[in-house]
């Protein structure tokens, strides 16, 4: 399998050995490919595929805001008198 990379080693896609893939790229064995996809590898570092948190600080903040908004919204619904079951039915648990 061929891993298409960017200039920083970030994995951009997996392709067959018969595919035409532009540099930068690295060709790996099927076993190495399987190991890489099993860990949801997203970067090639020191000749190994790794899984790193590649989110930007802004993306991380957005994710955290979403979690906080969900919890505050859940609490507001409960403050209005809804039971846990009713809240879960509305927004999930």
């Amino acid at each position: 399998m061929i891993a298409k990379l960017d200039s920083n080693g970030v994995l951009l896609g997996w392709y067959l050995d018969t595919d035409s893939v532009e540099e930068p790229k690295v060709t790996v064995t099927k076993e190495a490919w399987q190991q890489a996809i099993d860990i949801n590898a997203n970067k090639y570092v020191d000749e190994k595929f790794v899984c790193e948190d590649l989110r930007t600080d802004e993306q991380k903040a957005n994710d955290n805001d979403e979690i906080a908004n969900r919890e505050s919204g859940r609490q507001k619904l409960k403050d209005l008198g809804l039971t846990d079951a009713e809240v879960n039915a509305l927004i999930g648990n």
């Binding site: 399998m1 298409k4 994995l11 951009l12 896609g13 997996w14 392709y15 067959l16 099927k30 490919w33 399987q34 996809i37 099993d38 860990i39 949801n40 590898a41 997203n42 948190d53 590649l54 989110r55 993306q59 994710d63 979403e66 979690i67 969900r70 879960n88 039915a89 927004i91 999930g92 648990n93």
Partner: protein
């Protein structure tokens, strides 16, 4: 029963025989060195590309020993299906095991009972970015498209 008897160098013999009602037939041996298979022989490894009469050829990635293995299946009509696991509770970009030429859509589900669900943030020929709603959960994404 008419036949030809071939005697072994060390012991025994093999009888090549014709059926009782033989008709008029010709059995031509191949002009090459090799062994003849019988109905008791194990089949040798066969090059699948030489087979005909198969309705569809499927190329599939091997399934790993872990139940959590990602993978793909590619049909000879170019239909490609990828499956990947959202292994992180937070939003995650997952590279497909084999890139699509064109993607059509995804199906997704959580590994957690209850009202939580996965949300597809973005989808491309090479990856999917997936988060969750209701709670931070893991799950699976099944994506389909074509690879030409």
């Amino acid at each position: 029963m008419a036949g030809i008897i071939l005697t072994g160098d060390t012991s025994g013999e093999i009888t090549i025989s014709a059926p009782a009602v033989a008709g008029t037939n010709t059995l031509t041996l191949p002009a090459e060195t090799g062994n003849i298979l019988t109905d008791g022989s194990a089949l040798p490894a066969i090059d699948g590309s030489a087979l005909t009469g198969i309705s569809g050829v499927v190329t599939a990635s091997s399934i790993g020993t872990s139940n959590n293995s990602n993978g793909y299946i590619l049909f000879d009509n170019t239909l490609l299906i990828n499956w990947v696991r959202k292994s992180s509770a937070s939003t995650q970009t997952i590279t497909f095991p084999l890139a699509f030429t064109n993607y059509y859509g995804v199906y997704h589900g959580t590994e957690t009972a209850g009202g939580a669900y996965l949300r597809i943030h973005s989808l491309s020929t090479t990856s999917v970015t997936v988060g969750s709603g209701g709670a931070n959960v893991t799950g699976w994404v099944l994506a389909f498209g074509r690879k030409t």
